[in-house]
Amino acid sequence: MRTFLLGYAVFALYSVLAVYAFYAAILLLSHKRIIDILKSSRYTRYRELSGSDQVPPVSILVPSYNEELTIIESVRSLLNLGYPSYEVIVINDGSKDATLQVLIDEFGLLPKEYVPAEGELEAMPIRGLYHNPRFPKLYVVDKENGGKADALNVGINVAHYPLVATIDADSLLEKDALIRLASVYMENPEETIAIGGNVRVANGCKIENGRVTEVSLPRKLLPMFQNIEYLKSFLAGRIGWSAINGLLIVSGAFGLFRRDYLIKVGGYRDGFPGEDMNIIIKLHKYMLDNGLPYRIAYCPDAVCWTQAPESLRILQSQRKRWSRGNIKNIFKYSSMMFVPKYKAVGLLSMPYTLIYETLGPYLRLTGYAALVGCFLLGTVDYRMMLLILGISLMAEILFSCGALLIEEMAFRRYPKFSDLVKMMFYSVLMTLGYNQINVYWKILGHIDYIRNDDSWGVMVRTSWQDDASGAPVSAASGTPHAGGRTIADNRTI
C-alpha cells in the first residue's frame, strides 16, 4: 500500500511533467515560426494599411448584457479605431438595466427597419434595430435575452461585411489591434478563417477616453496572478498551437472571423458555455471534414485589454464557467480525438487539453493526496515529500518564466526593471496556493457540468452569470474627466 501510494505520487508527478514537456517540445519544434510571428510585427507598416481602401471592411460585434455603466465609453473607443472601413454592432441581449436607453440617448439613435435575409442563423427574436446617420458606423440591435452565443448569432445575421470581429463589451481594443489582425488575414485571405488576438489585464493601467494610455502592473494580488496566468496560457499557451494550426480557442474577448464560414458551421449555436472554444473546434472540424486548406492564426501583437476580476468570488465563478466550457466541448467533440483526419487538432491539441485541463486537476489532486498519505504513513520522510512537491512547483515556475521570456523578447509591455522582478516574484508566489485553488475550481466546474447537464441543443434563456452573484457593480467614477481614471471596480463578467 505504501509503495503503491508513493509510486502513484511519483507517477502523477511524471505525468504532469510529461504534459509540460510535451508542450515545450511543440514550442521548440516551431520556434522559428514563432519567432517570425513575434519579430515581424515590428516591421510591418500598419500605418499605411490603416488608411488604405484595400483593407477588407469588418463588422465588429459587441454582445452586451447589463453594461449601462461602461457601454458608452467602449462604443466611443470602438468608433475611433485606426481602421479604414468598419461598423460596430452592439447587440443588447435583453438587458435588465438601461443599456439600450443609454445608447439611444448618447448617440441619438433612431429605429430602423430590419430586413432579415435568407439562410440566417437561428436566434432569439430581434426587438429592434437602431441607427443614426450621424454615426454611420454604429448599429444597435435590441433582442430578447438568449445568452452571449445567441447574441453573437444575431450579430452575425445583421452584419453587412464579409469579416466579423467579436469583442466583449467591457474590453478595450488598442487602436491598431484590428488592423493587425486584418493584415494577417490579407496575407492569406482564402485560407485564413479565424484569427485570435491577445488579451491583457488592464487592472492598474491608466485608462483615458477608452484607451490604455499608461501600462502598469496590477496593484492587487489577484489581478497580478491573473496577469501572469494570461501570459502563460494566452501568450505562451496559444502561440505554439497556432504555429502548427492546432489552436483550440480564439479568445471570446477578441477575435476575427470570416462571416461565411461562421454561417456554414451554424454560428454559435449551442455554444454556451465555452462558445469561443466551441466555434473554433467547429471550424476546424468543418474544414477538415471537407478537406479544405485553412489556417486559424493567433496574432499576439493585436491587443485587447480587459478587467480581471478582483474578488475571489467572481474569479471563482469565471473559472468554473471556463472549466465547464472546456469539458463540455472536449466531450462533445471527443470523436475527433486521435483521428488522423483531424491532424494537429485531433491528434495533439485536443488530447493535450483533455489530459491537461480535464484530467490534469484530478491527477494533481490525487497526486497530492497520495503524497500526503505517504508522509502520514511514514513511508517517506519530509525531504522526499519536499522534493516531489518542489519538482512540481519548479515545473510551473519554469513555465511561467518561459512565458515571461516570450513577453520579454517580443513585447516588453511593462518596461521598468522592477516590473520584471515583480512578475518573476509573483510567478513563484502563484505556485504556493493560487494554482492549487485553480485546480479546485476546475473540479468544481466539472461537478457543475455533470449536474447542470442542460445545454444539449436547447436554446436556454440565461444571463451570462449563472450564479446569482449579488456583488455590487461599482465604478470609480461615472464620467471620465481629463485626468483619466483607473478602473478598479468589481465587474461581474
Binding site: 511519483v10 517570425d36 510585427s41 516591421y43 446617420p133 485571405p189 522526499m384
Partner: protein, 398 residues
C-alpha cells in the same frame, strides 16, 4: 526507492538549472533593453540641436549636413530610429533628403552588413531599414532573401523593402512573381506594396493582364483600380468568364469603371449574369460611374433575387443625384413589395442624413430638392415614419 529518489534529485537539479538560465536570460534581455533606452535618451539629448537643425531646414536645403564628429554604433542606431520615425510621416522630396542623410551617415552600409547576419531577426530589421532608405543597391540581396523566405509576414516585410527600393520594373516584377508564386491570393497586399514604389507600375500591370495567370491578373486589376485601361473591353472579357470568383468581380468592376467606353447593352448583359457577385460588382460600380443609363439599369436591379445586389442598387441610386433619388421614389411606390420596402428604407435614411448638414449650403440645397421630389411621390409611397419603432422613445435627430 533510492533509485527513484536519485532520479528525482537529478530531475530537480535539471529544473533548477533551467530556471536559473531563464532568470539570467530575462535579466539580461531587460538590462540590455534598459541600457539601450538610456543610450537613446542620452544620444537624443546630445543631438537635440542637430535634430532641430534638420527639422527646421528640411524643406530648404539641398543637402543636409551630417553631425560633426565620429558616431558610435549605438549612436547611429538611435539616430536611425529617430530619422525613420520622421520618414514614416513624410513623403516626397523631403523624405528623399532624409534618406540621403541616412546614406551619408553610413547607415546603408551598416544595414547591408547586417543583411548577411546569421540571425533571422537581424536580417529582417536590416531589410526593413534598407527599404525605408530606398537603397537600390540592396535589391539583389533582398530578392535573394525573399526567395529563401518561407511565406508569412516576414516575406512581406522583405517584399515591401524591395518595392520601396527597386530601381527598375524588372526588379518589381520579380518580387511580385515570387509572392504570387506561393499561391495565397494576397493580391490586395501586393497592390498595396506596389503603391509604395517610385516606379510607375502601369506598363507592368498591363502586361500582367495579357498573361494567362489568374493571380497576376488579380494583382493587375487591383492595382489599376479607378484607372483607364486601354483596350479594356477586349482584355478583360475573358476574365469575366473566369473560374475565380474574385477575378470575375474585379474584371467586372474594372469594365464598369471604364466609363463611356462601355456600351449600355453590355452593361445590361452583365447585370443579368448568372453570378451574383458579378451583378453586385456592376451595381456598385454603376453608382460611381454616373452613366446616363445607370439609373434605369439600377432601377431594374432593385428587383434582383440576391439581397446584396438589391441593397447595392439602392445605395448606388442615392449616389446618382436627383435622377437616382427620383428613381428610388418610383420604386418605393411600385409593385414589387421587397424592392418597395428597401427603397422606402433607403429614402428615409437619406432624408435623415440630409437633415444633418444645416451649415453647408450645397448640402442644404440638395436636401430640399430631395424633399421636394419625395413629396411628389408621397402619396404613392406607403412609408410610415413610425414604422419599426416598438414604443422605445427616440433620441434627437441631430
Amino acid at each position: 526507492m533510492t533509485d527513484s529518489a536519485s532520479h528525482l534529485v537529478a530531475l530537480a537539479g535539471m529544473l533548477v538549472v533551467l530556471i536559473v538560465l531563464v532568470f539570467i536570460a530575462l535579466f539580461g534581455l531587460r538590462a540590455r533593453a534598459i541600457w539601450f533606452e538610456r543610450q537613446t535618451r542620452r544620444y537624443l539629448d546630445k543631438h537635440r540641436d542637430y535634430l532641430d537643425y534638420v527639422k527646421s531646414h528640411l524643406p530648404d536645403v539641398e543637402q543636409l549636413h551630417t553631425p560633426a564628429g565620429k558616431l558610435a554604433k549605438t549612436e547611429l542606431k538611435v539616430l536611425q530610429n529617430k530619422l525613420f520615425e520622421w520618414m514614416d510621416q513624410i513623403g516626397g522630396a523631403e523624405r528623399d533628403k532624409l534618406a540621403q542623410l541616412c546614406r551619408d551617415l553610413g547607415l546603408v552600409e551598416m544595414n547591408l552588413r547586417r543583411l548577411r547576419s546569421e540571425i533571422h531577426g537581424v536580417r529582417l530589421h536590416a531589410a526593413y531599414s534598407l527599404g525605408m532608405m530606398q537603397a537600390g543597391e540592396a535589391v539583389p540581396m533582398l530578392q535573394q532573401l525573399l526567395d529563401e523566405e518561407r511565406y508569412g509576414s516576414p516575406a512581406f516585410v522583405i517584399a515591401r523593402a524591395i518595392a520601396r527600393s527597386a530601381q527598375s520594373p524588372e526588379e518589381l516584377d520579380r518580387m511580385v512573381r515570387t509572392i504570387v508564386g506561393h499561391g495565397k491570393h494576397s493580391h490586395r497586399l501586393i497592390a498595396e506594396l506596389l503603391a509604395f514604389s517610385r516606379i510607375d507600375c502601369t506598363p507592368m500591370l498591363l502586361d500582367y493582364l495579357r498573361e494567362d495567370d489568374a493571380e497576376l491578373a488579380k494583382v493587375a486589376l487591383t492595382g489599376l483600380q479607378n484607372r483607364i485601361i486601354p483596350g479594356a473591353n477586349r482584355l478583360l472579357q475573358p476574365f469575366v468568364l473566369a473560374n475565380d470568383a474574385e477575378l470575375r468581380r474585379l474584371a467586372v468592376q474594372a469594365l464598369v469603371e471604364q466609363g463611356d467606353l462601355l456600351p449600355e447593352a453590355q452593361m445590361k448583359a452583365l447585370l443579368r449574369h448568372a453570378d451574383p457577385e458579378v451583378r453586385l460588382a456592376v451595381a456598385e460600380a454603376l453608382g460611381r460611374s454616373g452613366q446616363p443609363y445607370a439609373v434605369a439599369l439600377l432601377k431594374e436591379a432593385m428587383s434582383d433575387e440576391d439581397r446584396r445586389v438589391r441593397t447595392a442598387s439602392a445605395r448606388s441610386l442615392t449616389l446618382l443625384e436627383d435622377a437616382g433619388f427620383r428613381a428610388l421614389c418610383e420604386v418605393a411606390g411600385g409593385a414589387d413589395e421587397t424592392a418597395a420596402k428597401l427603397a422606402a428604407a433607403t429614402i428615409r435614411e437619406e432624408l435623415a442624413r440630409g437633415a444633418l448638414y444645416e451649415g453647408d449650403f450645397e448640402q442644404a440645397k440638395r436636401h430640399s430638392r430631395r424633399l421636394g421630389i419625395y413629396r411628389q411621390f408621397a402619396e404613392s409611397i406607403r412609408i410610415g415614419w413610425n414604422a419599426g419603432s416598438s414604443g422605445v422613445p427616440r433620441g434627437d435627430t441631430a
